[in-house]
């Protein structure tokens, strides 16, 4: 086989692996291709509605734009780039640490530089394909509303996808050489988890500090931002102009991204093999207990609870996965803090944010404690009834939720006691619902499968998300419009009841 044929064959192999990984993520282990494609088409069709709501009014935008519009479009592109970067970092760490075929590739008589060039290109292609998929409803809305010139936005998506993948690869390999394999995995995964959220949250924090509102657009459209922004002719606005159909800007953007990816492939492909070897050689760092403690006495449930707390505390990767949800609490906490000074009406906005975060966090924690049991046989063969095991695990979820949210609700009680009561009830109900859904749909697996918890049951994932949103809306409305709150509360309760009815564990 010639070297070109071998590379084509390897590229096909990579694309097939990426496709199957994606399919497994979409459908769980069953791999129902037709259902996944139909589901995806339906999802994409439905996504056109929120896309229209978010972006529809911008379809008529014409060049030349004023500075505020350029800032908003550029910030949106930057946010999309940050999200793609986070996805790409995840993909790169997975290639380094989780691909089972590395031994085979490394021991085969192929030129590793070429093979890893293909692998880098495959990462870029995967990231780009995912970005195109997610951006399609938004670009469609712009094309339908504003004409074919908006097709150029697809070019921008491709360009930022390629550049995000290139940056992620360079960043991960450099990080690897600076801090070593074990820390790189952790740092990269934590960064991947918080990069996208961090951008939105930073904007919200700036908005709160400047204008006392949670809206990030307040910052982007402000006079201060316009004053600090570069001149309209600046290269900084090329991505925005390219999205609006400026052919020259689009070509430069695409060429720049391809050059960046090419440079990364040329520089880092020869080092990829060495990096992989070091990773496998240093796969597991040795963690020693800092002090020797005596065995503690206590009930069997206490043993279960303390085990769960230790496991949660000692897994920074799992913490980072939950951290993203907690990060969303930073802006409301800041808003709360500011409202002590100027009694802003915007404080009402923090109730739904807190309730939703509680629901989402409880769902993740409940999955970890209930489904993600690494020693399932041990716990099952232990001499205590299953109901007591489940109760101990639910207690862990509720204790963690209590510890995280009690300070926020306590602070809220000083500003607005009725709002604190409504928020507390919302937190308890949202956390209890998310935990119950995890119980009804539990599938025993290892904690390391946390990233794929959504794929074990799509129904549970959607039910958990809808119930969190529903309880958040109910809590927000209860503070201002009690009757609509009753309606949303009943609708959410009906969703939960329907979920229970069709769950496999309702018996």
């Amino acid at each position: 086989m010639s070297s070109a044929t071998a590379l084509t064959w390897f590229a096909r192999h990579e694309i097939r692996l990426a496709w199957r990984e994606w399919l497994a993520m979409m459908t769980g282990r069953r791999g129902r291709k037709r259902a996944a494609v139909i589901g995806l088409i339906v999802f994409a069709a439905i996504m056109h509605l929120p896309a229209y709501a978010v972006i529809g009014r911008f379809a008529d935008l014409q060049a030349p734009l004023d500075k505020s519009s350029l800032i908003v479009i550029t910030a949106t592109i930057l946010l999309a780039w940050a999200l793609m970067l986070s996805q790409a970092i995840e993909s790169v760490t997975r290639v380094f640490y989780a691909r089972a075929d590395l031994d085979l590739i490394m021991s085969s008589p192929v030129r590793l530089t070429n093979v890893f060039s293909v692998r880098i290109a495959a990462i870029a292609l995967t990231v780009m394909a995912m970005a195109l998929l997610l951006s399609t409803p938004f670009v469609d809305v712009l094309v339908i509303g504003g004409g074919i010139r908006w097709f150029a936005a697809y070019g921008v998506v491709i360009a930022i996808g390629l550049s995000a993948a290139a940056t992620a690869i360079a960043f991960t390999i450099v990080l690897f050489h600076l801090i070593g394999p074990s820390r790189t995995r952790l740092v990269a995964q934590i960064l991947a988890a918080i990069i996208g959220a961090g951008f939105v949250i930073a904007l919200q924090i700036a908005a709160i500090l400047s204008y006392g509102t949670l809206s990030r657009f307040a910052v982007l459209t402000s006079d201060a931002a316009a004053a600090y922004a570069p001149d309209i002719e600046s290269i900084v606005w090329w991505p925005a102009r390219a999205a609006l159909g400026d052919g020259q800007a689009l070509l430069c953007l695409l060429a720049g991204s391809l050059l960046l990816l090419g440079a990364v492939m040329a520089i880092f492909s020869p080092r990829f093999a060495g990096t992989v070897v070091k990773t496998s050689a240093n796969a597991a760092p040795v963690h020693r207990a800092s002090r020797i403690k005596s065995f503690r006495s206590g009930s069997r449930q206490q043993a279960l609870r303390s085990k769960e707390f230790v496991l949660l505390r000692r897994d920074p990767w799992l913490i980072s996965q939950s951290l993203m949800q907690l990060l969303y609490l930073v802006p409301p906490a800041l808003l709360l803090w500011r409202s002590f000074a100027n009694s802003s009406a915007a404080i009402i906005l923090i109730t739904p944010v807190i309730v939703m975060a509680a629901g989402q966090l409880a769902g993740g924690l409940a999955w970890l404690t209930i489904s993600g049991e690494d020693a399932a046989d041990l716990v099952t063969t232990a001499p205590l009834p299953p109901s007591r095991v489940t109760r101990a695990k639910i207690e862990v979820v509720l204790i963690v939720i209590g510890v995280i949210f009690a300070p926020l609700i306590g602070a809220l009680a000083f500003t607005s006691p009725p709002q604190a009561v409504v928020t507390a009830i919302g937190v308890v109900v949202a956390a209890a619902t998310a935990t119950a859904i995890q119980l009804w749909f539990r599938v025993q697996t290892r904690r390391s499968q946390f990233r794929r918890r959504q794929t074990s049951s799509r129904l549970a994932t959607f039910a958990e998300a809808f119930s969190s949103i529903g309880w958040a809306a109910t809590a927000a409305l209860a503070l201002s419009m009690p009757l609509p709150a009753l309606v949303t509360g009943l609708v959410t309760a009906a969703i939960v009841a329907a979920t229970w009815k069709i769950s496999p564990r309702r018996e």
Binding site: V286, L378, T381, P383
Partner: protein, 250 residues
Amino acid sequence: MKPDQSALQVRRLTKRFDRLAVDALDLTVRTGEFYALLGPNGAGKATTLRMVAGLLRPDAGSVSVLGIDALSDPVAAKQITAWVSDEPMIYDKLTPLEYLEFVAGLWGIDPAVSEPSAHDLLVSLGLEPHLHERCEGFSKGMRQKVALAGALVHDPRLIILDEPLTGLDALSARHVKGLLQDRVRAGCTVIMTTHILEVAERMADRIGVIAAGRLVAEGTLTELRQQNGHNDTSLEDMFIALVDSEAAAA
């Protein structure tokens, strides 16, 4: 407990998945006995033992552990039973000592008893240098030893092991075998599945051969040889002959 009581008594135990995995199985293991359960892949050994350990609910039949009905009173039966599977299931983020502390807590053992016992067990299995290291970097053999120590820390009277020597090096395997024989000498009952026939031959008081979910032969090595009609036959030859004849009959 009555004198001369069986450690395990299984009657007409049945389990069906997509096919019949265990077919009305009768099995009796005496107290203080080392019993090896042999059989080809998919014969129903692990399914039988998982039902005994309370990990699977049988479709029919009864399981009695030292006189306790394990199906109607599973908590009491589990209190005196330990289970070790071929795939060691331990917590990566705990140290061996912390894992044993957790197991002792689950079984409600007084820390004054469990702590020295845990330490001694881990030391006897050669894990002393790793007592305070998290298990995430352990080899499969080390993980298997931690799981085994966890099974023994609550001082069970019936130990059920599914392929416990898989992945162990020769020295570790010898440690484990020695530990199990010590337990049997102390009056404990051990039931073990294994594909290493030499282990069964050298360690077991009695051997049961299971095929297609049924017990097709049982006895001491001598009894099995007599049943087979050749006094000088190796266990391996007898096992292959039994399994082949069962396959032909099916």
